[in-house]
Symmetry: C2
Subunit: 241 residues, 2 copies
């Protein structure tokens, strides 16, 4: 999701891609509309099929169009309805801001999964889990509190990992790299425990990110991150309609 437009170098395939993109984004070609066949674009632009194919392939990769064999290429409905969110680990986020990262383990518990744990992890039966509570800070100021559950049947090494030294997010990132995730963003007001951990008032707003992570159908971890709502901000820039 780059911010720069690459209209600076009007190579042919980029021009073709931009032309089509424009018609889609202006609504001239609405969702469902069949865009010209490759051979038609070849005729219109006087180039080889590989060139228009490259333009169309990129539009397909960007989810702007859908290509179907024998049928043609079609304008897709405007992206997934709600949101796409990516978050690197908090340490990286804080150090990237040029602030000093601090980490503190508040609690760690190894236990047989309770019904609530299983529900949270989205599994029917789980053996043991690790529950971790910790705090991240930037320049000594509380930045976020983390409340995490790791499924030990998926990540047995987590039972012996030293989460007092390394944040569980970083640890998992290095030990369980290829994952899929689902995010939910919401807002709550701070209860006693949260208020104390974040050093804010009870009843103050908090931004909540729940992340549920798995790898090829195996649940790995469920984490809830709480940020002070009036100070922390998730900022994103993107390009598109």
């Amino acid at each position: 999701m780059s911010l720069v437009t690459d209209a600076d170098k009007p190579t042919l395939y980029k021009r073709i891609r931009a032309d089509i993109e424009k018609r889609i984004l202006t609504g001239e070609w609405p969702p469902g509309h069949r865009i010209p066949f490759e051979h038609e674009l070849v005729a219109r632009y006087g180039c080889s099929r590989m060139t228009v194919n490259k333009a169309l392939s990129e539009l397909a990769q960007a989810d702007l169009i859908e290509r179907r064999r024998r049928a043609g290429s079609f304008v897709r409905r405007p992206q997934h309805q709600s949101a796409v969110l990516k978050i690197a680990d908090i340490r990286a986020e804080i150090t990237a801001l040029g602030r000093a990262y601090g980490y503190e383990l508040i609690g760690r518990k190894l236990r047989a999964a309770t019904a609530a744990d299983r529900d949270r992890l989205g599994v029917k039966k789980a053996g043991k889990v690790v529950a971790i509570t910790c705090r991240h800070s930037a320049d000594k100021v509380p930045f976020a509190v983390e409340d995490r559950l790791i499924d030990l049947s998926s990540v047995p090494d987590a039972a012996t990992a030293d989460f007092a030294r390394e944040p569980p997010g970083s640890w998992l990132l290095h030990h369980v790299p290829w994952t899929e995730a689902e995010h939910t963003i919401s807002a709550i007001v701070a209860d006693d425990r949260t208020a104390e951990a974040l050093d804010i008032a009870v009843g103050a707003p908090c931004l909540v990110i729940d992340r549920y992570t798995w790898r090829s159908a195996r649940t790995i971890t469920a984490v809830r991150l709480l940020y002070p709502g009036d100070s922390h901000r998730l900022v994103a820039r993107f390009k598109g309609g």
Copy 2:
């Protein structure tokens, strides 16, 4: 950001792409690492350069690698530090949920830009602006309130648009299609006015999305969306490390 892996059809370029992706995501090739030159991959896989070029181009488009002429291709640092967020317009979001969309204009004001307006729009001097307050509902239940400022020097048509009939987000989407945006997510507690508009208690948590939109350096609009924090949720799924 599709959830499905396309490992089902191991065409050659996909295999090459997947091989490289795997090494990156397992950390075997860390950020900054130079991946093999095209001619080396050509030799290793015994294919033409166009085939490895396609694999590498897609990895570049996905921001996993960076390609530099004469220098080679390099593993990028894990994506932008914080967040990437895409949101279609609220009407589409609600109808996609299978719920009845409702819209209501609360207020509309055309005025010369105040200092606060200019600050919010990020412009030094602006002529006139339209300020709009409206409410979106799903199945007759308040879903979000919207507080928007449109820069009339960029979008003069907005002065005469009938925002009682069409939500400003949809209107803009159809009249000013190709835009860039910046999002900020935060949390607040509802004040009197917000509480009334969303039919929640004063002091209840609200999820806030501030979106600032421009097109080729021209400011278009600044909008603040307030969602009831305990009910509404932004959900996202993604694949990646």
